[in-house]
């Protein structure tokens, strides 16, 4: 392919780069604006139900930050809150990556929930039944979870790509099957009969992710997450597969005419997405809980959607959006503990973010309205002068 400079003069390339940068900036501003509006609406709702709305919202917005105090020497308080933020964000970023891959190919696979739970199950089985020294044991569990996620994503992928089965319906159904299967295995075979609730025994030490920040539950899942962000970035920006995903997302027919094996790429995009959902399952089971429990992650798979949307399916964006949304979720938990407002207010904020971000015509409409108002104001001020001139 010819180099871009062969087509465009330097001035033109300059303009293209500038307009690209401008568009990126506008998009960024738009997302910030949406988040601010959503938080604003959230605050207004809080005003109606709370006796202390300001304190509640302060807990939501500043809760997850550790407090540094200098009384009696320097020490940091609330490191566990900071830890909660990181724990939450790791899950959300991995799920956001999973969702962003399928969304990039314009596939509305909602299967992250099922892939996560089967990833956790696969990791749990390896953790409990395989005996190996530390790094190998964890490595095996990771591979098992990734394979489980991959395969559970491959099923709807193949069904969609080769026989056109609607992926929304199939993934939602496969989620139900996965969750029931998980509970079946847990109740029938893996449960610890001595425990007071349904759950496996704790994993052996060799199958628990090593801690990174003491005083929290932040484990090497942090590095797994960062590596995943890099891998997805590399996949999307530097490989043929990623390029093909993007072309299919932009225009499937064009991709087909261009010689892309669209069926294979669509099926694989859903499967690859499952890998990262599976890793989120590892983080939950081997990092946070250190065992499998019956209701490990009610519906968390859907939370990746808002992250991917905020990030515009960009992996680096997923990192930032995941940290932001994790912050909000942690803040909501702290708010719930310290005030009379429930954490569900954050779901309302999330819903507003999703609605406003997907509303593509909202801001152009607003822009148009504003321009028209400006224009008519100018006309109004000009008309009398012209008439006077006559």
């Amino acid at each position: 392919m010819p180099d871009g400079s062969a087509f465009y003069s330097t001035r033109q390339t300059d303009l293209i780069v500038k307009s690209k940068r401008k568009r990126f900036l506008l998009e960024f501003l738009r997302i910030i604006l949406v988040v601010l509006i959503a938080l604003g609406i959230g605050f207004i709702i809080t005003l109606f139900v709370s006796d202390e709305p300001v304190a509640a919202f302060k807990a939501l917005l500043t809760g997850p930050l550790p407090k540094i105090s200098f009384e009696g020497g320097f020490h940091i308080k609330g490191i566990n809150r900071f830890g909660n933020w990181m724990e939450e964000s790791i899950t959300l970023i991995l799920l956001g990556l999973a969702v962003s891959i399928v969304f990039k190919a314009k596939q509305f696979s909602l299967g992250a929930d099922g892939q996560l739970i089967l990833g956790a199950l696969a990791a749990g089985v390896v953790a409990l039944y395989v005996d190996a020294p530390l790094p190998i044991h964890i490595g095996l569990a990771l591979v098992a979870a990734m394979v489980a996620g991959f395969l559970w994503g491959l099923i709807p992928g193949i069904l969609k790509a080769y026989i056109d089965v609607d992926e929304i319906v199939s993934t939602l159904m496969l989620n139900v099957i996965a969750i029931q299967f998980y509970q079946l295995v847990l109740v029938q075979w893996l449960r610890d009969p001595t425990a007071g609730f349904i759950g496996t025994p704790f994993f052996p030490k060799t199958a628990i992710l090593p801690l990174v920040i003491p005083g929290t539950r932040v484990t090497i899942a942090l590095f797994i997450m960062l590596a995943s962000v890099f891998v997805v970035w590399f996949l999307m920006e530097r490989t043929t597969f990623g390029y093909e995903i993007k072309v299919i997302g932009a225009n499937r027919k064009f991709a087909e005419y261009g010689g892309v094996n669209t069926k294979r790429v669509i099926a694989l995009s859903m499967a690859v997405s499952g890998i990262f959902a599976g890793l989120a399952g590892v983080h939950l089971s081997m990092g946070l809980l250190k065992r499998l429990t019956l209701n490990m992650s009610p519906g968390i798979g859907f939370e990746g959607i808002v992250v991917a949307l905020l990030a515009r399916n960009n992996p680096i964006g997923v990192l930032i959006a995941g940290l932001f949304y994790g912050y909000l979720r942690t803040g909501a938990q702290i708010m719930e503990r310290s005030s009379d407002v429930t954490r569900e207010v954050v779901l309302i904020i999330q819903a507003i973010i999703i609605l406003l971000i997907t509303a593509e015509r909202l801001f152009p409409l607003f822009q148009e309205w504003w321009l028209r108002r400006k224009l008519s104001a100018e006309l109004d001020s000009n008309v009398p002068e012209e008439e006077a001139a006559r």
Partner: protein
């Protein structure tokens, strides 16, 4: 309980009655989803609309005696139903507005609505009752059952027509059956129904003959909101008389699957919904044997996926057969 007794209970009027009862909310929501699906606007928000309506129905009917003290007691549940339907319309309108006016992707916007309903109901429930799990502290009324007179003494027919305890089926079950008939007539015998299907088949062609595509899609989505709301109300005011957090438990998504399983027509949709209901009722029966309930819970979603695969394979084979016929005819000519 032995296997034979389970078998016997399956082939009984009581089993049919229980299937009907379990299927009602799914039938209602699926009929709504069918209307919007046929108009070319898939409604993933059925789940959220059901949940929102179920909540509004319980809340308003529980507080109605305080708000309207003069009214007779039997009116209060119906005020709740009205509130639920209005909630369903508002949520469906929100979806329609964001999709049709603001260009939002209908799937993502609907997921937003679902999250709004899931979060909003728990948020409001906690703010009003102080409980996050259910509205058990409120006394909310039920929508009554309809008992068909004179048949109770006939052995099989009595149970069939008036359910297991001969106390009749809920009003919602009858509404679901009537709606099935009405929607079939609407879709295939009325001009607006034909317009709706045309808009879904080919919006450009429909627009070119003067059909207002946007308006038809508005109507379809709002109608799906009303029907899904009735499905949700059935859960919280018929099935139970209480609202529980996330009480729809995926029924809205099952309704969506049922539409495809039923080959996107009303009768097929109802049959598919009944199959789902039968699988759930069967689960309840088999639960008394040593079959793990999770295994049975897997049957309906698995059946859906398999049925979709078979349906699509057959459709594909049909297209290939048609193409071959066309080719043969072309060669002859």
């Amino acid at each position: 309980m032995s296997f034979e007794t389970v078998l016997a209970s399956i082939f009984s009027a009581a089993f049919i009655a229980s299937v009907l009862r379990v299927s009602t909310p799914i039938i209602l929501a699926a009929l709504g989803g069918l209307l919007s699906e046929l108009a070319g606007v898939i409604n993933i928000a059925l789940e959220g609309i059901m949940l929102g309506a179920a909540f509004a129905g319980v809340m308003v009917s529980a507080f109605a005696p305080q708000w309207f003290p003069g009214l007779p007691v039997w009116v209060f549940p119906w005020i709740g139903v009205l509130a639920g339907i209005i909630t369903g319309i508002i949520l469906a309108w929100l979806l329609a507005f964001f999709h049709l006016e603001l260009g939002a992707d209908i799937i993502l916007a609907a997921l937003g609505i679902n999250i709004l309903a899931a979060g909003g109901t728990v948020f409001l429930m906690y703010s009003i009752t102080g409980d996050k799990g259910s509205t058990s502290t409120l006394a909310s009324p039920a929508i009554p059952n309809i008992v068909i007179p004179f048949v109770n003494n006939i052995p099989f027919v009595g149970t069939l027509l008036n359910a297991e305890n001969l106390t009749g089926y809920n009003v919602f079950t009858y509404v679901a059956l009537i709606m099935t008939v009405l929607i079939t007539i609407f879709l295939y015998k009325m001009p607006l129904g034909a317009h709706l299907r045309a808009v879904g088949e080919n919006p450009d062609a429909a627009a070119s003959v003067g059909i207002n595509v946007k308006r038809v899609r508005y109507y379809a989505l709002l109608a799906s909101g009303v029907l899904a709301a009735l499905g949700g109300l059935n859960l919280s005011m018929g099935y139970l008389t209480i609202f529980q957090a996330n009480m729809t438990a995926g029924r809205g998504f099952i309704a969506l699957a049922v539409i495809y399983l039923g080959n996107r027509n009303p009768i097929g949709t109802v049959i598919a919904a009944l199959i789902f209901g039968a699988a759930t009722s069967l689960g309840a029966q088999l639960g008394t044997l040593s079959v793990p309930p999770q295994l049975i819970e897997m049957i309906p979603p698995a059946v859906t996926v398999i049925a979709l695969v078979i349906y699509n394979l057959r459709k594909r084979a049909q297209i290939v057969a048609n193409a071959r016929k066309f080719q043969e005819r072309a060669e002859k000519a």
